[in-house]
Amino acid sequence: MSSDARTILLVEDDSNDVFFLQFAFESAGIGNPLQVVGDGQQAINYLAGTGQYADRSKYPFPVLVLLDLKLPVKMGLEVLRWVQNQPRLSNLLVIVLTSSADSNDVEKAYSLGARSYLVKPVSLNKRVEMARVIKNYWLELNRFPSALHASSNQGTNP
């Protein structure tokens, strides 16, 4: 498994949350490279490999996407809808990581293809705990479909 293939894409606009997630990942011992984008449109661009994200050596296609729902420009649910409409991205694993525990959001996210829905823990310790679970389950136990990293440089306009 190349290092490119292990990239995790975090879609998060709150720098504090980004910081705590990085801290939690470090504390949990997650060595995967973490790419961060700050809004929904950038997430789409990254996944499509357009604009600055065309260079996959710099911005490798992610093995996992952690997606916040409340985002500038394009909301998380819109990103999910876009992903659902891209046949090439049918195997992409998107995990929603948000502060909203609203049942409406949960249902919509799953119906739009999210593979998991996590609510951001409040305390630091719980964040670290969650990062460990992600590492154990998604990064170690889970088997990824091989087709995931196939699509790289062919850009799809949003």
Binding site: D14, N16, D17, F20, F23, K70, T98, S99, S100, A101, D102, S103, K120, V122, S123, L124, N125, R127
Partner: protein, 574 residues
């Protein structure tokens, strides 16, 4: 009567007489017989022969006579039958000569003339029976009847005992065989009944008119075909400003109906006439002083005396229409205001929704950050911090955690306060198992939860009821007496009217009577945060959610011994 009979017989008799008359040869025989001695003795043989001939002839004559007699019986029967008909016909019948002398008449006429049973032999002149003043008319009638080849008719009065009798005479004449003068045959019709009906009519009519004029509206009648008015009651002068006569002169009443209503009015009248039905319509009419008034026209068509008639009553409903219009305006205004308010409210609700969404995201994010950094600092400086400093950090973290709970509870409360509530039958036991499994604090050995099975089903909103169950159970566990394992007993009870009460009985600290009402209000806390942590919203959420599902909540409690919370919801029909 007998005289009449005799006369009748006389009149009917010629045929009979002719039948009874001996044949001419018989007469000749008789004559011969009478004269026989003169020449019959001349020869005895011839005499004998003659006798034989005569005997034969006689027996033939006897046969003829018998035959004629039996014919006469038949004739007599039909004669009586016709005589009876003649006498009792419902009209007077008489024959008079050129001077008006009554030659024969039937019983009906005698009765009509006030002469019942009078029949004497005296001469009876019709002229004498006529009321004074009508004699010339009678004489003219008689004169005409004698000369005319067609029946002649006249109306005059007969002079009966105390009154005059109106009659119609219909006469024709025939020449009496052998007489030079013509006989007049007359039918006398009694007008009395008809005349009395006619005399009475004007009175009924005037009564009827007076009655019609009291009707609070214009009574009208129209020709069902042409729809022209044939009658209009005098009330129309008040309602429309025109006298009744104005309308029946063929002025084209429809020109007084508002242009937009004219065709509808005509259609209604046509429909009423065609369907022979009752029909009511409202329309505008123009009065003589050019005012537009609203009228209600109730019409009715019916066949009366073989004739189709179309009537109606026209009532002025202008005042009512005005009131209706005002009411309609007021209603429209109200509707408009309601719509405005509704859209304002919708906007407010939308604002509230985006507000709570930003509450859950934007407000909680910095809070989480503060808490995270505090924790981070505390971990980093673990070696440097003294005991008080560590406590400050812990308090900082606890406060931010509490604020987060508060925000989440306010969100839950606002969620149960709005939005549609769809109620369906729920299995309470399944829901309880789910709640207990979802909350680690509700699992043994920390707590003993006892369910008195079977639990009755209730109708509710699944998410709301789940919220209620978890709030009530965590409360029961939270407010336990120090050193005692919380024990919660859950049971259901059917209440009158089909409701089901769910009981949550705990062995906790209980609630003072004065606090029992307060605890269901939002932000009401009866214990300090030091003792029992909480936001004070949990029971408010329960109360609001149960209220939204159409139920009630309540509590019975003895301080120091425990509480019995209940919530009542519509039950599931067994």
């Amino acid at each position: 009567m007998s005289r009449v009979e005799k006369k009748t017989i006389k009149r009917v008799s010629p045929r009979e007489r002719a039948a009874l008359r001996p044949p001419s040869n018989a007469r000749a025989v008789r004559t011969t017989k009478r004269n026989a001695p003169a020449w019959g003795l001349s020869s005895s043989a011839a005499y004998q022969r003659r006798i034989c001939e005569l005997e034969l002839e006689l027996s033939t004559l006897h046969q003829d006579l018998e035959e004629l007699r039996s014919k006469a019986v038949v004739t007599e029967i039909s004669r009586r039958h016709y005589a009876e008909l003649y006498q009792n016909a419902p009209v007077g019948y008489l024959t008079m000569d050129d001077l008006g002398r009554i030659i024969e008449c039937n019983a009906t006429f005698l009765e009509l003339a006030g002469l019942p049973g009078q029949a004497g032999e005296q001469q009876l002149y019709f002229g004498r029976l006529v009321a004074p003043g009508y004699v010339p008319r009678f004489l003219e009638h008689l004169h005409l009847a004698q000369r005319s080849t067609v029946p002649v008719s006249s109306e005059l009065y007969l002079r009966a005992e105390n009154e005059t009798v109106p009659v119609q005479l219909i006469s024709g004449s025939q020449i009496k065989s052998g007489a030079a003068a013509r006989l007049v045959q007359t039918i006398v019709l009694d007008f009395t009944r008809q005349a009395s009906a006619e005399q009475a009519r004007p009175k009924t009519q005037s009564d009827f008119k007076a009655l019609v004029d009291t009707v609070q509206g214009v009574v009208w009648e129209a020709n069902p075909n042409s729809l022209e008015l044939t009658y209009v009651s005098s009330r129309c002068a008040q309602v429309l400003g025109y006298p009744p006569t104005y309308w029946t002169k063929g002025v084209g009443w429809e020109s007084h109906v508002h242009r937009e209503d004219r065709e509808r009015m005509l259609q209604a009248m046509r429909l009423a006439a065609e369907e022979r039905t009752d029909l009511t319509m409202e329309c505008r009419m123009i009065t003589a002083d050019r005012r537009v008034i609203w009228v209600q026209n109730s019409m009715s068509a019916a066949v009366l005396g073989r004739r189709l008639r179309l009537f109606g009553v026209l009532t002025d409903i202008t005042d009512r229409k005005l009131a209706e219009e005002q009411l309609r305006q007021a209603r429209d205004e109200l509707e408009q205001r309601v719509n405005q308010r509704t859209s304002q409210l919708r906007e407010t609700v939308r604002d509230l929704e985006s507000f709570s969404y930003s509450l859950s995201h934007d407000l909680r994010a910095p809070l989480r950050a503060m808490q995270g950094y505090a924790q981070l600092l505390m971990n980093r400086l673990a070696n440097v911090l003294d005991e008080p400093a560590r406590t400050y950090f812990q308090r900082l973290i606890a406060s931010s955690e509490r604020l987060d709970h508060l925000i989440q509870d306010v969100l839950k409360f606002s969620r149960v306060s709005r939005g549609p509530v769809e109620v369906k039958p729920l299995n309470l036991e399944d829901l309880l198992v789910q709640v207990i499994n979802d909350y680690p604090v509700l699992l043994p050995p920390k707590v003993r939860i006892e369910v008195q099975q079977p639990l009755l089903g209730v109708c509710g909103h699944e998410a709301f009821l789940t919220q209620c169950l978890s709030n009530l159970l965590s409360n029961a566990v939270k407010f336990h007496r120090p050193g005692e394992t919380p024990h919660v007993k859950i049971s259901t009870q059917r209440i009158d009217g089909g409701n089901v009460r769910i009981w949550f009985e705990d062995n906790g600290i209980g609630i003072a009577p004065e606090d029992q009402r307060r605890i269901f209000g939002i932000f009401e806390r009866v214990h300090s945060g030091e003792q029992y942590e909480g936001t004070g919203i949990g029971l408010a959420i329960v109360a609001k959610a149960v209220e939204r599902m159409g139920g009630h909540v309540g509590v019975e409690s003895t301080p120091g011994r425990g509480s019995r919370f209940w919530l009542e919801l519509p039950g599931v029909k067994p």
